[in-house]
């Protein structure tokens, strides 16, 4: 899994590529915690190149979203496709996190 970070104003966009599974989901969580510790509580994750996510990946996403919210911020998700989108829909996390079609839409928010 690779995570590319871009700052847009007071928000951070993380482009997460590859797989989020038992072996590396914690890496994502640590990265987000680092952003939050730096004061970036509004985080957009671009999943356009994430091919796979397991329940441990979902666990990390939910954990990060809760932490961001506790700090007055929010986690937004955009551009998920294929199996990743399917997993979010099966678990109804697609209703917990509004799914944006673009980074721009996620940055504007709502």
């Amino acid at each position: 899994m690779t995570i590319e970070q871009t700052q847009v104003g007071d928000k951070v966009v993380l482009h997460v590529a590859g797989r989020m599974d038992a072996e590396n989901a914690h890496q994502f969580e640590l990265r987000c915690e680092s952003c939050i510790a730096e004061g970036f509580t509004s985080i957009v994750i671009d999943l356009s190149d994430l091919a796979y996510i397991s329940s441990l990946g979902l666990r990390s996403v939910v954990a990060v979203a809760k932490k961001a919210r506790d700090k007055g911020g929010e986690l937004r998700i955009c551009r998920m496709t294929g199996l990743v989108r399917q997993v979010f829909e099966i678990t109804k996390l697609s209703q917990v996190f509004p799914l944006h079609d673009s980074v721009e839409s996620a940055l504007i928010g709502g």
Binding site: D21, A22, Y52, S55, L56, V62, K66, L83, V87, I90
Partner: protein, 131 residues
């Protein structure tokens, strides 16, 4: 041994079975997801934290396009099929951080059977080629 480092070799082993069963490449990720969820359940529920545990995985190809995988462990009795399903109506604040693994397992495996036999948990799952 029930460790996350064991995941990749197990996945590769099961992928070999999937190729023998002529499952399409497009279903490989679904198969990997099912296997990961099964193994994580074994790690979490069957063996106490920190204790080593043996897991055996075997596969068979009952027909072209069909793969059966059996995952067995000698841990605490645990039947994932009877686990309480998660409440999917909860909002972010109320949602537990975990608890999605068994739901994903049930969603992507075409069939699941469990039995407890002579101290072993035996979970058999079947994946069929999507038509």
């Amino acid at each position: 041994m029930a460790r996350t480092e064991s995941l990749s070799p197990v996945t590769e082993f099961v992928r070999k079975g999937a190729r023998e069963a002529n499952l399409p490449e497009s279903q490989m990720r679904e198969l990997e997801l099912v296997i990961e969820e099964v193994l994580m359940n074994v790690s979490r529920y069957s063996y106490p934290e920190g204790a080593p545990g043996m897991v055996t995985i075997t596969y068979s190809v009952p027909a072209s396009g069909k793969l059966a995988v059996e995952v067995c462990d000698q841990g605490i009795e645990f039947n994932p099929l009877t686990a309480t399903p998660p409440d999917l109506t909860l909002d972010l604040k109320q949602r537990p951080i975990g608890s999605m693994g068994i739901l994903l397992l049930k969603s992507f495996a075409q069939s699941l059977t469990y039995r407890r036999e002579q101290g072993w948990n035996r979970l058999t799952l079947a994946i069929s080629a999507n038509l």
